[in-house]
Symmetry: C2
Subunit: 223 residues, 2 copies
DNA sequence: CCTCCCTGATACCTCCGATGTATCCGGCCA
DNA sequence: TGGCCGGATACATCGGAGGTATCAGGGAGG
């Protein structure tokens, strides 16, 4: 195995074993390189790779630190990976989202509090009578993100966040090509919100399923 | 932004835009470095980072290639990230798996063919009367992987594969500490298989839920 | 006495050039 | 024809030099 890969494994080992804790500072490049038995150049490759997936946080002039290792942070890297997928696999991502999103919405129905519900209502009302496509997509993303965030499972939340990336483009196209998609989407949002207010987990789950499935159906017929 | 990060973005852009296709070979280090306007050393950091998450495949003495970009390959990187999570977030991962696995099992009930069902049966029968913990865990992983693989959704399959990593340790502990876990697990496996043979999606979903939930419950009571 | 600016130390950033090593391919020999 | 061998190619690794961002501490000014 290459020395750089060894270094990646060793640093990973130090973190997993607990020798390095979240927020800890690593020895400076030259020291760590000497400690691991490789050149600074090769060590930098290892650090850069771990930095890309948010394991390490490098700050010039300061030092290199272990990140918080929060699920949210680590799964952020997922969206980077997801960006590389071509359109023909978008349907598979959407199918997974269709499984997760209804479950998350149902979970949220039991945990979301009144303040959050009011905020969601205000958010929907804030949309003008003729919103732009960009506004609509942003609102849609925030609406679902807030609900999933109330599910109480940060892994689930981050995962859905990452998976929603590739469907965003699809939503834009849909807004551009399908006229009644806007009003239908807003209606579905209000129905989901209503189900959450009623603490009706099954209704919330069903409306979320309908919501994702409509995008899926449209996309399937288009490709 | 640092030149290395710029290089990462540029290479990503070349792939996403289609200028570089899966399997394509990149220009050699020195040429690509000149093309992107940075040193070979800095370029190597970018390439190494993209190599860690399976976007690029570097072969010494040959060249650097774009991988197939299959969802399976890219989500392999997920398990690397998941390894960094501490035990206190295992429950959240397990909760996500509890959502996905039943859905995948239900999907498989409609698609799995007789040969695959026979293979699963043979696999369960192959376990001796007193299997070791390692054998049991390996068998358990393979059993679920094969079923999820029959769901027809490779993204779902890879995702579950990645998420199952951290629960593996839990399963080992369980096998070590809970006496009747072995026979109960095997019984649940047979019931899942029976539901698949009957093409009974709802029964398959329920047995899969029971299966994951039992691990979740045990883990919750232990931590 | 407190605040602001400057300066030095520290640590990462970027580059260059050289050497080692694995792979591929074409020519040579049996 | 088939296998062996050496050159060409491209990545792997190294050591050092100069640049830049950050932080902490000291001194001038209010």
């Amino acid at each position: 195995m290459a020395v750089t890969d060894e270094a990646i494994e060793k640093i990973k080992g130090m973190i997993v074993s607990g020798a390095l804790r979240p927020g800890d500072r690593l020895p400076k490049e030259s020291e760590l390189a000497a400690e691991l038995g490789l050149s600074r150049n090769s060590l930098r490759e290892a650090v850069r790779a771990l930095s890309l997936i948010r394991i390490l946080d490098v700050r010039q002039g300061d030092g290199t630190y272990v990140t918080s290792l929060d699920p949210q942070l680590l799964l952020e890297a997922l969206s980077f990976v997801v960006d590389f997928h071509r359109d023909d696999t978008v349907l598979e991502f959407l199918a997974v989202r269709r499984i997760l999103e209804p479950a998350a919405t149902a979970m949220a129905s039991a945990l979301i509090d009144d303040d959050q519900l009011d905020a969601l209502s205000a958010q929907l009302d804030a949309l003008g009578p003729a919103p732009s496509v960009e506004e609509l997509v942003a609102c849609d993303l925030k609406f679902h993100r807030d609900i999933v965030g109330a599910s109480g499972n940060s892994v689930l939340c981050s995962l859905l966040d990452g998976l929603s990336g590739p469907t965003t483009r699809a939503r834009v196209w849909r807004g551009l090509t399908q006229e009644d998609a806007v009003s239908r989407t807003l209606h579905e949002h209000r129905m989901i919100l209503g189900a959450l207010r009623d603490r009706d987990a099954e209704a919330a789950r069903s409306w979320a399923t309908v919501h994702v499935a409509s995008v899926e159906q449209w996309l399937r017929s288009t490709l």
